[in-house]
């Protein structure tokens, strides 16, 4: 049988670096084909070639046995390639229907195009199960449904090959299950789905075959029925993975940070954190799980002093923190260090050299100079951090944005952890970083805990929360909806709590 999609020796170079080097693989009609690899392995470049956004330097792509060479995304769409990006390309103020017909309005007057799109949407619903209300406004929809709109948009344009780029990164476990259901239905309907992910469990769950990429090339292709997560991971990073050993032994220490009935509003006045109380003890990692947008981010930023606290009290080692001290500078002085959720927005200055980012927040310290900043000292400090944390390339003068996500994250961790924090607030420590950096980050956090520090961890990755935390709090709708110990719960139970199900445990 002729494969629906075939890559033959596809090569793409940027400067002297081969982002894709002779990539060849096939995907059949009616299959879900996984593509896994670390950041920078070449997955995105390969997909951008498939979608017509870039052109290959060598090699070609065949659809149903016929060679194609797309000059533009428009050409790719015409040939039935549908791409669902990680970041949705939807216009929030418009309805589902209008978003779906965007770019395919079918003439200057919208009524005809709208009717046609509505009819096709109804047909899709018949074939693939529940769709979305065509007249709902995107801004009102939860993330899972928005993603469904993206998929429907691709299908309505006649996509037979659907590319899903990290589709589960933004979903709750339950939404992920829904997505997988839809993917299987589409597969059964004859579609060819390319599923790009770095979550090995998901790839094993939903894919038939998995192609593993590393450094621009293919290092292996596996039948999911005959492989394991460990083997995939080993192929992905080129060596066996050592999961950071987490020996939760000690009895919890004294309460370092005490928050009572903390309430936080966003600048428009909407309540985001609605009365959260928690105790953070020395020598523990307290994980907070939740679907993004349920107040965890605001809580973390409020504790770091970046957001005002509308009501409630904070105390460190029993001493109340008054409103005057609730700013990042004063909190740092109290020993509260902060690894922010969004490293490029908050944690670093992308345009600055790494040395400039490596002193962010601590630039007032005497170690960086007296009245005038001491450039040599700043660069030496950064170089030392790079050496200690294996940050590559070890170039303090390179622009911060020139580093990979993992190395950027290590720079922040180095900066915050080396300041000997009393309390470390950590948001999404491993979002978008490669496995090597994940290992390093986890090991450092566990070491910090072992040193008796208190760590508050917020992550959208349930696996991470489960692996690192000594206790887990679940947040939903700005409130704590449950507390679990990692040994006594499952991802499924946490997922239900995250989605707002009533806490039935004692």
């Amino acid at each position: 049988m002729v494969p629906a999609l075939e890559f033959i020796g596809v090569t793409k170079r940027f400067g002297g670096v081969a982002a894709c080097n002779g990539v060849s693989f096939q995907a059949a009609q009616g299959s879900i084909h996984g593509i896994i690899g670390e950041n920078g392995a070449g997955k995105s470049t390969l997909m951008s070639i498939l979608c017509g956004a870039r052109r290959a330097d060598a090699g070609h792509i065949r659809l149903d046995g016929r060679a194609v060479n797309f000059a533009s995304p428009r050409g790719a769409i015409a040939r039935g390639i549908g791409m669902v990006h990680q970041h949705f390309m939807l216009i929030e103020a418009m309805s589902v229907l209008d978003n779906i017909m965007l770019g395919a309005e079918g003439g200057p007057l919208l009524a005809k195009g709208r009717a046609a799109a509505r009819a096709r949407l109804a047909a899709l619903e018949r074939d693939h199960g529940p769709a979305v209300d065509p007249d709902a406004i995107i801004a009102d929809l939860p993330v899972g449904l928005r993603q469904r709109v993206e998929i429907l948009k691709a299908l309505i344009r006649g996509a037979r090959i659907l590319v899903l780029d990290e589709p589960t990164a933004v979903l709750t476990p339950n939404e992920t299950a829904e997505l997988f259901k839809l993917m299987r239905r589409l597969r059964d309907g004859g579609a060819c789905i390319l599923f790009i992910t770095h979550k090995l469990g998901e790839a094993l769950d939903v894919c038939g075959r998995v192609t593993v990429m590393r450094r621009g090339g293919i290092v292996g292709e596996f039948d999911t029925a005959q492989t394991s997560a460990a083997r995939l991971a080993e192929a992905m990073i080129g060596r066996p993975v050592e999961a950071a050993a987490n020996d939760r032994i000690r009895a919890p220490g004294a309460v370092i940070l005490r928050a009572r009935d903390v309430r936080v509003s966003d600048p428009s006045g909407a309540a985001r954190v609605k009365g959260v109380s928690l105790d953070l003890r020395e020598g523990e990692i307290l994980g907070i799980a939740g679907v993004s947008g349920n107040g965890q981010s605001e809580l973390l930023e409020a504790l770091a002093g970046m957001r005002p606290i509308a009501a409630g009290t904070l105390a460190i080692n029993g001493a109340a923190i008054d409103a005057r001290a609730r700013n990042p500078r004063a909190m740092r002085a109290l020993g509260v260090m902060h690894v922010p959720e969004d490293r490029l927005k908050h944690g670093l200055v992308a345009d600055f050299p790494a040395s400039g980012s490596a002193m962010l927040g601590f630039h007032r310290e005497a170690r960086y100079g007296g009245a005038l900043l001491d450039r040599a000292a700043i660069e030496a400090d950064c170089a030392a951090k790079m050496a200690r944390w294996d940050i590559r390339p070890p170039a303090p003068n390179l622009a911060t944005r020139g580093f990979s996500g993992g190395n950027q994250q290590k720079l922040i961790l180095a900066r915050e952890i080396e300041r000997d924090p009393l309390i470390l607030l950590v948001g999404q420590p491993t979002r978008g970083v490669d496995i090597g950096a994940v290992e390093a980050a986890h090991a450092r956090l566990l070491a910090l805990r072992a040193a008796g520090k208190a760590i508050l961890l917020i992550s959208n990755e349930l696996d991470e929360i489960l692996a690192l935390s000594d206790r887990i709090l679940v947040m939903c709708g700005g409130r704590i909806t449950g507390e679990r110990s990692p040994g006594g719960t499952s991802a499924r139970e946490l997922g239900l709590l995250m989605a707002g199900a009533a806490d039935t445990a004692a």
């Binding site: 345009d351 927040g361 005038l372 944005r401």
Partner: protein, 353 residues
């Protein structure tokens, strides 16, 4: 913070608009029926090739350095200060008040007092929009533009009333006392028995160069400069780092206003020796193009200011020497250069990524 010396990094974006400017001038001159090569020679000789021309070029350069630095110091902190013009006017009012009402100061103190009064006026005029932005969220582009109008109206009111020279129907202040005149290059030349240049080039030029050096130190070597750069590059990162945006905005705008006051000092104590309307000559706006061309680096700004100074002076020379080339064509070319500077400046910025 690294790479080749700032001067050479800055030269590229200055040379590119220069090339475009020369090409534009050639086309316009040819269209007017003149010989482009001869016109370019006039331009070069008129701006750099004679003592008078060079001195006038440097006089304009002084204005442009101050204006460019004023724009860039605000821009470093992410603030687009369109109000250098108005801040210079307010500085001029301060200078005139000091010159006319505090004239009793001994000679050695008079000029520093004038400079301080000007700096205070410029800083005050910059501070209000900064405060509105920091505390009320009023967009600084809008408020500084409006403050230009208010400054112009205030200047007009003062010169038509309280500060106006009695008996003169021209809206200008009485002449400043002699102690309020900035020492000119000509004074030095005369003292050395050399022919004066008959130009207003004065001590403000070294002052402008010193200001450029101070700005360089501020940007590259101080914590304030670092905090300004963080705020300018990424307000969220500044919030994360505990840098108060309000404080930095106000400081940056105060510095911007003080630098803008140099323009007033050069024009009023160096050239006009009285307060007149529109002594700012639109240089505050040209400062935006200069900051862009100089990529917000003091060394680049000095080079860009020299380029614009030469084009202003050379343009005047063209109009003198070539009757067919009218003032409007010169203005057209200057406009094109500002546009080109904007384009190349923007390209340079995006190319840094």
């Amino acid at each position: 913070m690294s790479g080749p010396p700032a001067v050479w990094q800055a030269a590229g974006p200055v040379l590119a608009p220069l090339a475009v400017a020369l090409a534009a001038i050639s086309i316009i001159v040819a269209a007017a029926g003149e010989n482009p090569a001869a016109a370019l020679r006039t331009l070069a000789a008129g701006s750099l090739g004679s003592r008078e021309g060079l001195a006038m070029t440097l006089f304009y350069t002084t204005d442009f350095i101050f204006a460019g630095l004023a724009v860039s110091v605000a821009f470093r902190a992410g603030l687009f200060n369109i109000g250098v013009e108005g801040q210079a006017m307010a500085a001029g009012i301060g200078i005139a008040l000091a010159a006319l009402y505090a004239g009793a100061l001994p000679g050695a103190l008079a000029l520093p007092a004038l400079a301080l009064a000007g700096a205070a006026g410029g800083a005050l005029w910059a501070l209000v929009p900064a405060w509105l932005q920091a505390r009320r969220g009023s967009h600084i582009v809008i408020t500084t533009i409006m403050f230009n109008f208010i400054a112009g109206a205030l200047l007009g009111f003062l010169l038509n009333g309280p500060l106006g020279a009695p008996g003169s129907m021209q809206p200008e202040s009485p002449a400043f006392p002699a102690a309020a005149a900035m020492p000119r290059l000509d004074d030095a030349l005369r003292a050395m028995g050399m022919t004066p240049t008959d130009t207003p080039l004065n001590l403000c030029l070294p002052l402008a160069l010193a200001a450029a050096f101070a700005a360089h130190v501020l940007f590259e070597r101080t914590r304030l400069g670092y905090e300004m750069a963080v705020l300018g590059a990424s307000p969220p990162a500044a919030a994360y780092a505990g840098i108060s945006p309000a404080r930095i905005m106000m400081l940056a705008m105060i510095l911007s206003g003080i630098l803008g006051s140099g323009l007033a000092l050069n024009e009023l104590t160096g050239a006009q020796n009285r307060l007149i309307l529109e002594f700012t000559g639109g240089y505050g706006f040209v400062g935006i193009a200069i900051a862009l061309t100089g990529r917000n680096r003091p060394a680049g700004i000095v080079l860009a200011a020299l380029l614009f100074g030469a084009l202003y002076q050379g343009g005047a020379e063209l109009a003198f020497e070539r009757p067919k080339i009218t003032r409007d064509m010169i203005v057209l070319v200057q406009g094109l250069i500002v546009l080109m500077a904007g384009c190349f400046g923007a390209r340079a910025r995006s190319g840094e990524a």
